[in-house]
């Protein structure tokens, strides 16, 4: 009896989180154009439209390519920054940590607007080169890589690095073969975080993107303004596909990490 209330509460919150997504998923397999209207038949038409429509396909591919490019740059910059800052003296360390916090606490729209004003208005860089977009998104992502790697550096055993040097490794070898492997978990989670931030970003993209390019966020936003029901219901299918991919990814990571634990 005592456990009923907590379970009820958790179910309630889960319902709030998942019901909209699930209802939309159900409707994505029907020919209805609005949730709640009468359904006359089941169909995969929305999924066919999603994958057949060239505009939609380009937009999805573009979003993922951008996210990969941005995450790679952000991961390299953020990791190097974290390593360098870790070994720096107090003052430069504090300065870098402080500057790193700015994009983290700042509202995305302020970051987006300021980057846009500097790069596009003041320096006149052409949006169509993708340079402002990539820089803008790296500004958003790199600080999180920095924050993900930082704790791994403080937990690291410094004597291993010294030992490598004593055993004849050059400093760069020691860094590459001893320090870096210890940071891998932080680097990986930083990369993943960058990837999801880039996928989810609306503001920086919309302020710095080439006019002919769209990511999922900007595309969905503009599509809700339009009246094309075919696009609208195809996006229901997209939402369902992404939901299933995310759920699959979560299950796989859970299974893999459990195997990992069992092996130990």
């Amino acid at each position: 009896m005592k456990k009923v209330l907590p379970v009820f509460w958790l179910c309630l919150v889960l319902a709030f989180i998942y019901l909209p997504i699930l209802i939309l998923a159900v409707y994505s397999f029907t020919d209805a154009t609005m949730v709640g209207t009468e359904v006359s038949g089941l169909t995969f038409q929305n999924y066919i439209n999603l994958f057949a429509n060239e505009e939609l396909r380009d937009m999805i591919v573009g979003t993922f390519v951008l996210a990969i490019v941005v995450s790679c740059i952000a991961t390299v910059l953020g990791t190097l920054g974290a390593i360098g800052a870790h070994y720096s003296k107090r003052l430069p360390k504090t300065l870098i940590n402080g500057a790193n916090e700015i994009p983290v606490v700042n509202a995305d729209i302020v970051t987006a607007f300021s980057v846009c004003v500097l790069l596009i208005i003041l320096l006149g860089i052409n949006k169509d080169t993708f340079v402002p977009l990539v820089i803008g998104q790296v500004v958003l992502c790199a600080p999180f890589v920095f924050l993900a790697v930082k704790p791994k550096l403080t937990q690291m055993d410094n004597s291993l690095y010294e030992a490598a040097l004593d055993l004849g490794a050059t400093p760069s070898q020691a860094l590459w073969k001893v320090v870096l492997p210890q940071l891998i978990p932080g680097i990986v989670s930083g990369f993943m975080l960058s990837f999801t931030l880039s996928l989810d970003d609306y503001f920086i993209t919309t302020y710095t993107k080439p006019s002919s390019f769209d990511t999922i966020s900007t595309y969905v936003f503009n599509a809700t303004k339009g009246s094309q029901t075919e696009i609208k219901t195809a996006l229901w299918a997209l939402s369902t596909v992404i939901f299933l991919v995310v759920v699959a990814a979560v299950i796989v990571t859970n299974v893999v990490s459990r195997r990992h634990k069992e092996e130990r």
Partner: protein, 265 residues
């Protein structure tokens, strides 16, 4: 030995340069634009026009109200949830937590699309209750960002302190109010910083729900589409001041490890 230390330290030069060029410099440019006019002369006009216009002042207060109400709603939903997840006797706690934070990985515009369909179904015309729906939309969007830091904070809470309190005669309510709650303040603070500001500025959520918005973010958006960089910069600057004040107010409560959005992974 000197060459080695120089070597390692210098790794941060690219990142430091990046931060100066693309984080600090843009903010200085915004500061410059906020206090100049189209011909580049120094002016307080943008500042005065913001604070003398009832529309913009109204927007500021509306955003503050929306941000605060959303944050309180998120906190009221997230705290019991995080508490039950972290302290409840559930098997497979991490799987359960995953269930609650998975939506973070689904694009927010798609989630809001789903929410909009459901709200239209329940209420008919969503635009009838703009404030209520804004709060629902923002809460729906940002709830996982409140649950996660609270969960991390409550999970690492030292249980022996709770046992000590009840051994010393405190009843359950007292233990919660005098021990658990104060110790979870860092979690609350990082949750609040992750929800308050975005819910004051993320006009996309509102725009998608009913095509019109009255929050600070949309002001920047409208100046942006009107190519008015100077007034837009003034709004950005005002938001920066608000951010600075929030950070200042919360800084002494936050502990380093679970600070802000860094707690996500």
């Amino acid at each position: 030995m000197k060459a080695i230390t120089l070597n390692r330290k210098h790794l941060c030069i690219p990142y430091a340069a990046f931060l100066i060029l693309f984080v600090i410099l843009p903010l200085l440019v915004v500061l410059y634009y906020a206090f100049t006019n189209a011909t580049g002369e120094f002016t307080l006009e943008n500042f005065i026009s913001f604070f003398s216009n009832t529309n913009t002042i109204g927007t500021l207060f509306y955003s503050l109200a929306l941000g605060i109400v959303t944050t309180v709603c998120c906190l009221l939903i997230a705290y019991p949830t995080a508490y039950l997840l972290a302290r409840g006797k559930f098997k497979k706690r991490s799987v359960l937590l995953m269930l609650f934070v998975t939506p973070m990985w689904i694009n927010f515009t798609l989630r809001i699309t789903a929410l909009k369909e459901i709200l239209s179904l329940i209420e008919g015309n969503i635009a009838q209750y703009p404030f209520l729906n804004s709060v629902i939309g923002m809460t729906y969007d940002f709830l996982p960002f409140m649950i996660l830091p609270l969960y991390t904070c409550l999970l690492k809470l030292d249980t022996s302190l709770l046992e000590a309190a009840s051994d010393l005669g405190a009843d359950k309510a007292t233990v919660f109010l005098k021990v658990t709650l104060p110790l979870s303040v860092p979690g609350i603070v990082s949750g609040v910083t992750m929800v308050l500001l975005p819910s004051m500025t993320n006009y996309v959520v509102l725009d998608m729900l009913y095509n019109s918005t009255y929050i600070m973010g949309s002001l920047i958006g409208s100046y942006f589409s009107a190519y008015d960089w100077h007034n837009g910069s003034m709004i950005a600057l005002i938001l920066l001041v608000i951010i600075f004040l929030i950070t200042l107010a919360t800084n002494r409560f936050s502990d380093d490890e679970s600070s802000s959005r860094g707690a996500i992974l």
